[in-house]
Homo-oligomer: 179 residues x 2
């Protein structure tokens, strides 16, 4: 039987974007936020003039330097063993992000073949069995099984299978294999 | 009723890659090939050492300078009026192509929103109603209606709806609207 397909998001799922946001917030506002100060909010909506934080998405290098999300390397390796994994990432809004995302993947996830990478706009035309994403709007239009990866902006959502970290992702997809 | 979705390929469909191949063949071999000399063959398989022609795909600037395929501007404008058009292009094999493709689209097809652009690897995870492509392998795995856009390397294929040029694309999709 052929492996089931997973559309795996990049930002806030395998790439720790929030860590980089905290860096630029510290640079702009002079101090590093604690989790209880930002958790539940989008990072660029914490301060009244916070939209200048979102502008970093357009700056050269921003997408190249995210830390790898904790547990993601082991998690992706597990998924790739049992599933057909595609990296599906919204990227075309940010011109600089395209090459930076490819280079980031080549550095941190060299086992992912170029055939399995999708740099896209909206995700409504993707067809896979599963989608792991931090954005509710991507899961809302998805016809397969959506898995919401917990991020600061989605903690009040309760319509989807939620995974709070990569250990929970592995546990969920292990249980799916046993069905 | 919402518009039906089309996955529209870029290279050899809206971007005239063959024109650029003929340029580099002329540069490498000293003369411009006539259509009867290459038609039916892949451009890098015409000469015994022709794989050096394929290497141009990895060179900076190659994807930025394709001419627009004849009739494509009018054709894409027609499709966008009646269908939900996504540009779906295999690109992740060629690192330089990513930004160049985005810039090329911005120059020649500024009406196409970034949300509607997909830079991908294989196309097996795309789900649209139609796919317009010059590569048979993309249509073979596609579940909707495949439309083969004639290119030098696909002229012996007869399993798919064929369009030889953009006039025929418009005619076909007009007839689909009347169904």
């Amino acid at each position: 039987m052929s492996k089931k397909k997973i559309a795996l998001d990049m930002d806030e799922v395998i790439a720790d974007v929030m860590a980089s946001y905290l860096d630029v917030i510290e640079k702009e506002y002079g101090r590093r936020l604690k989790k209880e100060e930002y958790w539940g909010q989008k990072p660029y909506k914490i301060f009244p003039d916070g939209m200048k934080i979102r502008q970093y998405l357009f700056k050269e290098g921003f997408f190249r330097n995210f830390p790898v999300m904790e547990g993601a390397k082991e998690g992706v390796a597990f998924l790739m063993e049992h599933y057909d994994v595609y990296i599906t990432t919204s990227a075309t809004e940010f011109r600089n992000s395209l090459t930076e995302k490819i280079d980031w993947l080549a550095e941190h996830f060299p086992a992912i073949h170029w055939k399995k990478v999708v740099l896209c706009g909206d995700k409504t035309i993707l067809k896979t069995d599963y989608m792991i994403d931090d954005h509710v709007h991507n899961l809302e239009t998805f016809e397969g099984t959506g898995v919401l990866f917990t991020a600061t902006h989605n903690i009040h959502e309760n319509r989807f299978q939620r995974c709070n970290n990569w250990e929970e992702v592995i546990a969920f997809f292990k249980s799916e294999l046993e069905k």
